[in-house]
């Protein structure tokens, strides 16, 4: 495993867990850290981090957003890079400078944070080289491009490029891969029936590829799509892309149990 020559082998990364990974799928955090360490980074997880503040920001509560942003900025002071397994949360960090007046001391610090914050697949391709991956996953997969990663951060080719290095994986692109899955944070609770129509379109497109696994880079979208697929009775697995990249697919897929894992392993 070689790190790219542009980054010293000890790039100091503060890992931004994101609240959904913290609560729902810690294995995504461990997989991300494994990849970062493989890329030669020294990873720390600041204990004072909580959430990026997006629920408040998108609900129009600027004061709470600003307060949360301040604590995130404090928590990640001093790291060369801040990396997280979500385009949406990292995209939010990029919005922080907009929250402060230029004469507020946090303004410059927010700008600095935004300049150091990366979504994990983009960090592993655009900033540090990952060398050759030692990962294997047998099967046909399809990839959902989550909106914020795609349109705010330009994450499109990076996860695909990394996936192409996983032994045994074959990628089948779905129709409308770039169309929103209908999650939208509080949107899916406030307008559940519209959200349902959107996620139904998404799961139909995903299943039409014949893929056994649906991948993505944002846990919010993945929970939404997995929840829908399970409700529809589908056996399609849903996973965060880093799980495959880090060769950590021993955990049941999202919304599945250990029993499903055994069943699926027998099934294909």
């Amino acid at each position: 495993m070689t790190a790219s020559s542009t980054t010293p082998p000890t790039a100091k990364v503060g890992f931004f867990v994101t609240c959904l990974v913290d609560m729902f799928r810690p294995s995504v955090g461990f997989a991300s850290i494994k990849l970062l360490e493989l890329a030669g980074c020294e990873v720390e997880v600041p204990e004072t981090q909580t959430c990026c503040g997006q629920p408040a920001y998108n609900s129009g509560d600027r004061n709470s957003t600003r307060a949360i942003a301040e604590s995130v900025i404090d928590a990640f002071d001093g790291f060369e890079y801040v990396v997280g397994p979500s385009g949406s949360c990292i995209g939010m960090l990029h919005q922080y400078p907009d929250l402060f007046e230029p004469d507020n001391p946090y303004f410059e610090r927010a700008r600095s944070l935004a300049g150091r914050a990366y979504e994990i697949t983009s960090f592993l391709t655009d900033v540090v080289g990952l060398g050759t991956l030692q990962a294997r996953f047998e099967g046909l997969v399809t990839y959902h491009d989550s909106c914020a990663g795609l349109r705010e951060l330009g994450v499109k080719t990076q996860p695909r490029q990394l996936l192409s290095q996983v032994d045994g994986v074959e990628l089948a692109e779905m129709n409308e891969a770039e169309t929103c899955c209908g999650f939208g944070g509080t949107f899916c609770i406030k307008y559940p029936d519209i959200s349902n129509r959107m996620v139904s379109n998404k799961t139909a497109n995903a299943q039409a590829t014949g893929a056994a696994v649906l991948l993505g880079g944002d846990l919010g979208c993945l929970l939404n799509m997995a929840g829908k697929l399970k409700r529809e009775g589908s056996t399609m697995e849903v996973r965060h892309v880093v799980e495959l990249l880090a060769n950590m697919t021993d955990q049941p897929a999202i919304g599945e149990s250990a029993a499903d894992l055994a069943y699926n392993a027998g099934g294909h």
């Binding site: 867990v17 913290d22 609560m23 729902f24 799928r25 810690p26 294995s27 461990f30 204990e47 981090q49 909580t50 959430c51 629920p55 408040a56 920001y57 998108n58 609900s59 129009g60 509560d61 709470s64 949360i68 604590s71 909106c147 914020a148 349109r151 705010e152 770039e178 169309t179 929103c180 209908g182 939208g184 944070g185 509080t186 949107f187 899916c188 609770i189 406030k190 307008y191 559940p192 029936d193 519209i194 349902n196 129509r197 959107m198 996620v199 379109n201 929970l223 939404n224 997995a226 929840g227 829908k228 399970k230 409700r231 955990q251 919304g255 599945e256 149990s257 250990a258 029993a259 499903d260």
Partner: protein, 475 residues
């Protein structure tokens, strides 16, 4: 158009249950985006044009008073008249007066969303002037006493069947299902109206300051007949439509056609410059431009100014997954989709249109296709901020959000809450690994399962992991 935006949720629900509408929306989702993508792919410099369009609009908005006055001067020089209207009421009155002075019984109309904005048809009808819509889509809607659901394809919510039915009923002819025949039928009906009309009313896509001209773009040619045959031509338009020169106009025409329908150029681009001159073959005897403000000038200098760049191409709604799911009528007023979600709260009040800027996932697709790069999600967020400040968002939601934000600033307590929540949800998920019904999350579990957490939180697991590492290192 009556305001139904407060009933957004109900109307969206009805739209989702309406199989005919869903069929029509399927056609829209398959049609417009592909056509636009193909047109953009054929033009490598499209991105540069978008930047130019954005910059030019910004320049115009910064000098709006100058260009509007220049436009007025030149309309007058061409022999036309300009009527400034602060609001819908003033615009309606000005138009009625023009009709009365012309002794008009019927007026033909080209497609105009501004006339919907000011409820012109009902007003004219109530005052003894019969408006006849001549755009095919608008004509169909008028027969059905229906309203547009899209800003360039007003009858996009209808299927062929609906057209066959209404023509059969209103035209007293055998029912046809052949689009060409139906078109011919409409043409025959409309010809008589074109000739009979005393006044023709059109909108304007742009007003050209240097020449005092207005332009409309159509694919049917109905606009030409509406503005050249009657004795009087009235243009009803809004102040942000002004552009400095003819050359500037062509920049927007190139952006507009590609963004709207994927055409290189719209079929008919018709400029009107004053009334008929002695040497002209045809044209109206009078030329009036009604310039409506209706709250737009207040947007200048506000956080919503960028919305005034809009050239009404409809790309944002054609690509919007929410619009694609529920159609335009759910939005409950004239302007649907992302552009409507920003504009409508300004025009009818955010207290009435509050749902619109909220009913978005902020997926950003609209902004990515907007030919003048309006940051639509950001502007919708600004409305949410105004709603939040004015305590217009639902109480329960505000309370939930406030509680969450309070914890989010207190990492220790936050840890404790996420730890207990994961524990609780994990238990609820049981052996299945997912939850079928959550009392406090019905919005979610009515339609999908809630995947259960894996177990303890990442932060707790990471701490344990660190401790074992340290012990290993010591040992």
């Amino acid at each position: 158009m009556q305001i139904h935006s407060p009933e957004f949720k109900q109307r969206a629900g009805d739209a989702l249950d309406n199989a005919n509408l869903q069929r029509a929306l399927g056609n829209l989702r398959d049609g417009f985006p592909q056509k636009r993508a193909a047109a953009v792919a054929r033009m490598p410099e499209f991105e540069q044009l978008r930047n130019e369009g954005r910059d030019l609009k910004n320049h115009i908005l910064a000098n709006l008073d100058f260009y509007l006055e220049q436009f007025e001067d030149n309309v007058i020089k061409q022999g036309g008249q300009v009527h400034w209207a602060r609001d819908g009421e003033e615009a309606r009155r000005a138009i009625l007066e023009i009709c009365r002075n012309a002794g008009a019984k019927t007026v033909t109309k080209g497609k105009s969303m501004v006339s919907e904005e000011i409820n012109l048809n009902d007003y004219l009808e109530a005052n003894g002037v019969k408006p006849v819509e001549t755009d095919l889509g608008e004509y169909i809607l008028q027969l059905r006493e229906d309203h547009p659901s899209h800003i360039i394809a007003p009858a996009i919510h209808l299927n062929l069947d609906d057209v066959s039915d209404i023509f059969h009923k209103k035209h007293n002819r055998p029912r046809s299902e052949d689009p060409a025949e139906l078109m011919q039928e409409a043409r025959e009906m409309l010809r008589k109206q074109f000739v009979a009309a005393d006044v023709g009313i059109t909108g304007a896509n742009f007003c050209v300051a240097e020449t005092g001209s207005t332009i409309i773009v159509t694919n049917e040619g109905n606009g030409d007949l509406t503005q050249t045959l009657p004795r009087v031509h009235v243009v009803i338009t809004t102040i942000e439509k002004v552009v400095p020169t003819l050359e500037d106009m062509t920049l927007f025409l190139r952006l507009l056609a590609r963004s709207a329908t994927g055409q290189e150029f719209t079929v008919y681009n018709t400029l009107s410059s004053g009334p008929r001159r002695p040497e002209d073959q045809d044209g109206p005897e009078e030329f009036h431009v009604v310039l409506l403000d209706n709250g737009r000038s207040e947007m200048i200098g506000s956080e919503f100014q960028e919305m005034l760049r809009c050239i009404r191409c409809s790309a944002c709604m054609n690509h919007c997954p929410v619009y694609g799911a529920i159609g335009g009528h759910a939005y409950g007023w004239v302007y649907p989709g992302p552009m409507g979600s920003v504009l409508t709260p300004k025009l009818i009040g955010v207290d009435k249109a509050g749902h619109l800027p909220n009913a978005s996932t902020f997926c950003g697709k609209c902004e990515s296709v907007c030919p003048v790069k309006i940051p639509l999600p950001k502007l919708m967020r600004h409305w949410r901020e105004r709603e939040f400040e004015r305590h217009l968002s639902p109480k329960g939601f505000r309370f939930g959000l406030g509680t969450w934000a309070w914890f989010a600033r207190r990492p220790g307590l936050y840890r404790w809450v996420s730890r207990s929540s994961s524990w609780f949800l994990k238990r609820l998920g049981g052996k299945q690994g997912r939850i079928r019904s959550l009392p406090l999350g019905k919005g979610w579990t009515a339609w999908r399962d809630m995947p259960a957490p894996q177990g303890s939180t990442f932060m707790d697991q990471w701490k344990r992991h660190q401790q074992t590492q340290q012990q290993k290192n010591k040992g």
